[in-house]
């Protein structure tokens, strides 16, 4: 039974890093494809397209940071109760799941933003802002996950 506490905590770390990372990978994948299209037409837009394409990458970072915090907390501990393990798992869910979905949707917004960059490059900052709006929810989830992890005794 003692083992289950640690197992659950590991599952928590996995869920956090896995889902958020998956969302970012998909988001960056989508936006990278669109960016490549824009650069085919005009290689001069590489710089701006990189900024846009990098935006959905942050969810993965948030997941990684929370996962790392969890790891650092349990690294020195030999035993965890099942309740504690479950707390780790639950604490990882907000950033894991919101990071996953918001990463994908942010990627889609960025793909549309690439259209702005291609056709009206002077307005491309607005595309960045639209993508940034999706990020809000990943950030909120990150904040909650952070406090939850911090609170586990």
């Amino acid at each position: 039974m003692e083992q289950w506490g640690i197992n659950l905590a590991y599952a928590g770390i996995a869920v956090t890093v896995l889902f958020a990372g998956y969302g970012s990978a998909l988001g960056v994948g989508l936006s990278g494809q669109a960016a490549a299209g824009v650069v085919t037409e005009d290689p001069g837009k590489f710089g701006k397209s990189v900024i846009l394409a990098a935006l959905p990458g942050t969810q993965g970072i948030y997941g990684f940071v929370i996962g790392m915090l969890m790891y650092m907390k349990i690294a020195g501990v030999d035993q965890l109760t099942v309740a504690q393990g479950l707390q780790y798992l639950i604490a990882g869910l907000p950033v894991g799941i919101v990071g996953w979905l918001s990463g994908i949707w942010q990627g889609r917004v960025v793909v549309a933003g690439m259209g702005i960059l291609a056709k009206r490059p002077e307005e491309s900052t607005k595309g960045i802002i639209y993508a940034g709006m999706v990020e809000t929810y990943a950030i909120l989830a990150f904040v909650i996950s952070f406090f939850l992890v911090n609170n586990i005794r």
């Binding site: 001069g44 590489f46 710089g47 701006k48 900024i51 990098a54 935006l55 990458g57 942050t58 970072i61 948030y62 990684f64 940071v65 790392m68 915090l69 900052t125 607005k126 960045i128 802002i129 993508a131 940034g132 709006m133 990020e135 809000t136 950030i139 909120l140 990150f142 904040v143 952070f146 406090f147 911090n150």
Partner: protein
């Protein structure tokens, strides 16, 4: 400060001075030319509203197209690699105005250069055409390489006829068909490959019809080779030599063009010159003309009026200038004008939307907030310093246009925001054994959250006050009091009620509660103002309650500022992880570990710096655009676009910078 005061002026002068006067105005670049209204009283019957410059404009277009073509030809043969700034700003040639004059004096060289490039381009396309002809011929002959008859022998004599044929596959059956014919013939397989078989057939001339029939049956095509002289092999060698010759001459032409690439600047300077000329001619179409005079009108910044007078007087141009009243519904162009420190932050406004002429310029207000927000979101003194140093280096090393300089200055200044906040929190490259600063965000994240939300409260209330001020400025005192005034009172009370315990006002909790209810009541009642009848009254009350419900949006805006804390924390944790990884390598592996550790440290922090920078910029500006501007800013102003010299490829800098 804020938005420059604009004046509308009208200038009249003699037609003989038209080219000179318009060029002077263009060089000054201070006046935005507008057209005359259809039935403007100032025109009078003597003026006709338009003149035809289309022929001259078309001439400019022709020259521009020629130069653009030459430039793209250059790019094809000698492409330019853009550096990191040019990735963003486009490649420009930076010249001083003296150099520009020197370039413009060489118009004859331009003609020569263009003719030369044209010649090279024609030559290249000729070589291309010839090459494809030779290649096609080579392909035709190459399958017949083993044919050892000369072309003359292939023509046969009066008795014997020889033909060449190619067939996709020669089966035993088709050979049987030949044999079954019962006439003497000779068949030789010249070559065989996956594309088909090449045959040489010889027979008596009289049997040609039968042979033809059989060839049709086995789907063979008769091939007529052009005259190749003594042998196909020799011909192939000749063709190869021909191809090599063509390659050499193509390289020769390319090298010639490549050697000319130093003169690309000449093309670019002239492109911009003709583009400016075209713009000037187009603006002339907006002037009004009489028999001997012309009249123009446009917008100018108040303090630049004297510049026009001095310039025109210096050039001895006789003119009349007067200030006129704009049309009542005319849109006045906006140009921002701020102090030295706030000017770099104008970039944030430009990439959102310019304020309308009557609005307040938010630049000086958002500048300090952006500075602080950026500092918290980046949150590391080391990163801030590196960013500031990079920007300083860019400013010193690279020549940039005004927008590039503004962006660099903005990040330079904001980098110091991160330095300050990093020092407050004792965070330098997230190193652990540094223990100074007022608090550690990782140990006390709640304090960081409170700071972030507190800044949000301050900025959002400021937004409401600005919106009230703008209403008052329009002379609508009562509106400001009833809308923004009651809202501010209500929100302030609501916040006090929420945080009364935390700030030690719990003793007054009842008083605060009453004040809050009174504020809510006032807000509902204020909404009734100006509504008529009993239905209007009820509608007003309901609307008032709806307004209270709408204040939830205000609180969600405040919560949005928590992103500052999240960005600061995630950057800090990420940096800490990089340090740990690096240290693990140093401790784990002897000697080589130091090298690996240093690599991980450098690479990791570079990555984290880039991500922090991206996040800090995007989210600090988003807080201005969505949360703050939402409270008072309308935007949609028409940017001031003076008649000036166009700079698509070149950028004229003053001698000092060069």
């Amino acid at each position: 400060m804020g938005i420059s005061r604009m004046k509308k002026i009208q200038i009249g002068a003699l037609q003989e001075d038209l080219p000179q006067l318009s060029k002077i105005l263009q060089n000054l670049g201070v006046i935005e030319v507008t057209g005359f209204a259809e039935s403007g009283p100032e025109q009078g019957a003597a003026f006709q509203t338009s003149a035809d410059f289309s022929r001259q404009i078309a001439e400019m277009d022709r020259r521009l197209a020629e130069i653009a073509r030459a430039l793209s030809f250059f790019d094809q043969i000698a492409p330019v690699k853009p550096n990191i700034i040019e990735q963003f700003a486009g490649i420009k040639t930076y010249i001083t105005s003296a150099e520009r004059e020197q370039f413009l004096a060489k118009e004859s060289r331009l003609t020569e250069l263009m003719a030369e490039l044209q010649r090279c381009e024609t030559e290249l396309s000729q070589i291309q055409a010839e090459r494809s002809k030779v290649t096609a011929l080579y392909e035709t002959f190459s399958v017949w390489e083993n044919l050892d008859l000369s072309w003359e022998a292939l023509q046969g004599n009066s008795n014997i006829q020889m033909i060449l044929a190619s067939v996709s596959m020669l089966s035993a059956e088709s050979e049987a068909v030949f044999k079954g014919l019962g006439i003497p013939y000779y068949l030789e397989i010249v070559s065989e490959n996956q594309n088909g078989t090449q045959l040489l057939l010889s027979f008596e001339r009289e049997h040609y019809p039968e042979i033809q029939q059989i060839l049709g049956k086995i789907n063979a095509n008769v091939v007529h080779l052009p005259d190749y002289g003594s042998s196909v092999r020799a011909k192939l060698g000749e063709l190869q030599k021909e191809l090599a010759r063509l390659d050499a001459s193509e390289n020769g032409v390319r090298e010639k063009v490549y050697a000319l690439k130093g003169e690309r600047s000449l093309l670019r300077v002239f492109y911009d010159y003709y583009l400016s000329e075209k713009t000037r001619l187009e603006s002339l179409e907006q002037f009004a003309y009489s028999h001997r005079c012309f009249m123009m009108t446009g917008w100018i910044q108040e303090e630049q009026l004297s510049q026009i007078e001095t310039a025109l007087k210096r050039n001895n141009i006789r003119y009349v200038m007067e200030e006129i009243q704009p049309e009542p519904d005319e849109e006045i162009p906006t140009i921002l004008k701020n102090s030295k420190w706030a000017t770099p932050f104008e970039y944030l406004i430009h990439s959102y939307s310019l304020p309308q002429y009557k609005e307040i310029d938010p630049t000086p207000i958002i500048a300090p907030f952006f500075f602080i927000f950026f500092g918290i979101a980046m949150g590391d003194a080391g990163y801030g310093l590196i960013l500031a140093l990079i920007c300083a280096a860019l400013l010193v090393k690279l020549k940039m246009g005004p927008m590039g300089r503004r962006i660099s200055w903005m990040f330079l200044i904001s980098g110091f925001g991160a330095v300050i906040f990093g020092l407050i929190t004792g965070s330098v490259l997230s190193l652990e054994n540094i223990n100074f600063g007022l608090f550690n965000p990782l140990e006390n994240p709640i304090l960081l959250l409170i700071i972030a939300l507190g800044l949000g409260v301050v900025q959002l209330f400021l937004g409401l006050f600005i919106s009230a001020y703008a209403t008052i400025r329009e002379g609508r005192w009562m509106d400001a009091l009833c809308n923004q005034g009651t809202l501010i009172f209500f929100l302030a009370m609501a916040i006090l009620v929420m945080i009364k315990d935390a700030i030690g006002l719990s003793l007054y909790s009842n008083t605060l509660m009453y004040l809050f209810l009174i504020a809510a009541a006032i807000m509902v009642l204020a909404n009734v103002r100006g509504k008529k009848g009993i239905l209007g009254f009820i509608g007003g009350i309901l609307g008032g309650f709806y307004n209270i419900y709408g204040t939830i949006g205000f609180f969600s805006d405040i919560l949005s500022y928590s992103r500052l804390m999240a960005l600061g924390l995630s950057g800090g944790v990420m940096g800490g992880i990089m340090n740990q990884l690096a240290w693990m390598l140093v401790e784990g592996i002897p000697i080589v570990g130091w090298l690996l550790g240093a690599t991980v440290f450098l690479f990791g922090h570079c990555l984290n710096l880039a991500l922090s920078l991206l996040g800090a910029y995007v989210h600090s500006s988003r807080l201005q655009y969505l949360e703050f501007f939402g409270k008072f800013f309308e935007g949609g102003g028409k940017p001031f676009t003076p008649l000036e010299n166009k700079q698509k490829y070149t950028f004229v800098i003053n001698e000092r910078e060069a």
